[in-house]
Subunit: 450 residues, 2 copies
Amino acid sequence: MLEQYLRRHRARFLTELQQLVRFPSVSAQPKHTGDIRACCDWVANHFRQIGLRVIVHKTAGHPIVEASTPRLPGLPAVLVYGHYDVQPPEPFDLWKTPPFGAVVRAGKIHGRGASDNKGQFFAHVKAVEALLATSQPLPVNLTFLIEGEEEIGSEALMKFCKQHARRLRAEYIIISDTGMYAKDLPTFTYATRGLTALEVRLDGPGRDLHSGVFGGSVANPVMQLARLLATCTDAKGRVTIPGFYAAVQPLADWERRAWRKLPVNDKRYAAALGAPTVTGETGYTTLERRWARPTFEINGITGGYQGPGSKTIVPAWASAKITCRLVPNQSPEKVRAQVIRHLRRHCPKTVRLTIEPGHCAPAFLTPPTGRGAKAALVALEKAFGQPPVCVREGGTLPILDVFRRHLRGEILLVGLGLGDDNWHSPNEKMELNNFYRGIAMSAELLQRLG
Amino acid sequence: MLEQYLRRHRARFLTELQQLVRFPSVSAQPKHTGDIRACCDWVANHFRQIGLRVIVHKTAGHPIVEASTPRLPGLPAVLVYGHYDVQPPEPFDLWKTPPFGAVVRAGKIHGRGASDNKGQFFAHVKAVEALLATSQPLPVNLTFLIEGEEEIGSEALMKFCKQHARRLRAEYIIISDTGMYAKDLPTFTYATRGLTALEVRLDGPGRDLHSGVFGGSVANPVMQLARLLATCTDAKGRVTIPGFYAAVQPLADWERRAWRKLPVNDKRYAAALGAPTVTGETGYTTLERRWARPTFEINGITGGYQGPGSKTIVPAWASAKITCRLVPNQSPEKVRAQVIRHLRRHCPKTVRLTIEPGHCAPAFLTPPTGRGAKAALVALEKAFGQPPVCVREGGTLPILDVFRRHLRGEILLVGLGLGDDNWHSPNEKMELNNFYRGIAMSAELLQRLG
């Protein structure tokens, strides 16, 4: 009966998803504030139409939609998280279809936000609609939290979760905002990396100096910055900052074994990224380096003259943006302090060092052995027709730590995106197959969590 | 009689210099092509008025003014070089008087080009006028070469010198386009540093990558560039590129002795530059580092994200602009090859290395013991009323090598500029004292060279 409903309403589900994708709900651009609001209203109304109780929470930024099924005593609380805001679509000229056209072609829906995150969270909405419409018992007290600021830091939601922690507390938190390891390969993500950011700046002379008249007699801040950054890693790709690896939780045997079974082709991987070769910390595979090892990454560097031709100066200053990806058990604040201490120790007195600490987010890891994970694995297998893989994710989802601390609950990352969905890039798309299978997976999962 | 003439015509000389400074003869900016031409015409006419034979040579760029006294057999040939073009005046808002106003105030003439180089070469013009007008014997066959492209590389003049080498050959080449060591301290410059330039670029992935998803598994080009550049120097301020110092001509004892007598204050020097401290190659003084030691200078570096906040990427590429200042006996081409070889050897295979060689100019040195230098030292002492100092210059004058190779002759650098004349900066000025004393010095020097 559920299956029938899903089959019968496929076309409408897609039409509705197209409507949703057509909102240019770009959270970063003030000119789209009206579109954000319109998109939020559409989502709220949609929840009402399928029978949920809706509250739209105003925030200092963009509103949060909270939608709940009727509370029934004794049922486990489940929270489904998603976001209706999207990345900016620029650069426009690289799009092959209009970024907010929601064009459907060859089994894909094309548009900014189609996969990140509208198509993913909407699959759960459609599952709930189907369950309610077919009078299937919904054996959980379900709440959707759909925010409008994920692409700009989720500030309002973090505050909201702290303020309403008790009411929002859930036994399971379901999130489809990650990727599948490969096409048709259902994927359960049980860990993400953390992050710590800082910016370092070296000041030398008070202004750019003539490198002929003065060169050789004062420190060159660019050279000193290069020398300083070079002290942070070694030729084996290891970070040489004292204590950096001290707290790192080593990979479990079951993980290494499981990952070795995943399809891997380093050559094809490097070619797809346009890199000469894979490389990294000695003693680890590419997947281990991406998912389970911390990094020291320079995101940008600047100093002196950067235009065409040459300008013979000793630059006045140089700066670099740094982020470290962190793995479970590393404290972002501690690692940041270690980095700062190292930089201070190795910076010569011939330049002035300034360090601006940036944001922090811890890594997340829950082995896929909990009750929720087991249910998710079964639901994924049923929906996709083959056994799911369990993976980590190299990126960072700062909201997870907020959920973990304030809402508790087992976090279930059941991503429906693909590596080539072009999140944050031109020509974003989502596979319709993943959308439909996602609906089935969600319905199955909600029933099993009851 | 000469002195009388100079005294009597001081006011007119200044009025004429003001006329010359008022031309916005900015060689770098196409909108000023008409002004360049007008300035050139003014200079040519001025030479005609004082009795010289003038040829204005058209070039692919801006014209060259050649002006000669009547040839007399048996007299030594003397060439006076200068340039009528000027640096761009921008940024306008920092000027306290109009950049082309030629405002005279408190013993200074203010304006772009006042000191670099109009006031300096015009002093020689006025000296020749005075000598001819007072029927002093002009005991040399004198030629002025005043170009209009010094600030943009002197390309036309270099070609011109090669083409007309035989005709232009001179026993002495007089140039006032350098600075005095201190106010009221007449200065003879007997050496300049050379230069070799190159740009290095490292390419990693084909595009900026998400540092969470991919970080740790491919090389970060910014980090690799930092590591590569760090291999080029050591903590003692020495360049570690093999062979870099091999050909360096060591400082002569007489130079070290002479320089030790010059007024030096490292603290005040660092403070004036806004640098935390002086520093550089161990075992050398500040003057030695600036004038007589080669350098490896990074003029600019760029890579990745450089805007506000953070962007968590592995940048696709990074690049740096490098110039080495060179000292006598170092071949710019050889040093450049050494640098390139070193970079190639130390660059890991995980990134693609591209090196773009830039321009080259050798250092120049003629000990101040020649007949011309001796005459210049006496002329400087007579005009300024105290014994001159002999110095080197850290900057590079590429035209010197062209003169040396094609025109031969002893090069006499008798600069009239001061360190605070603001060459290439807003509020350029020239001391009128240096202008007037320069005229007297030039008249004396020309008579002594006969």
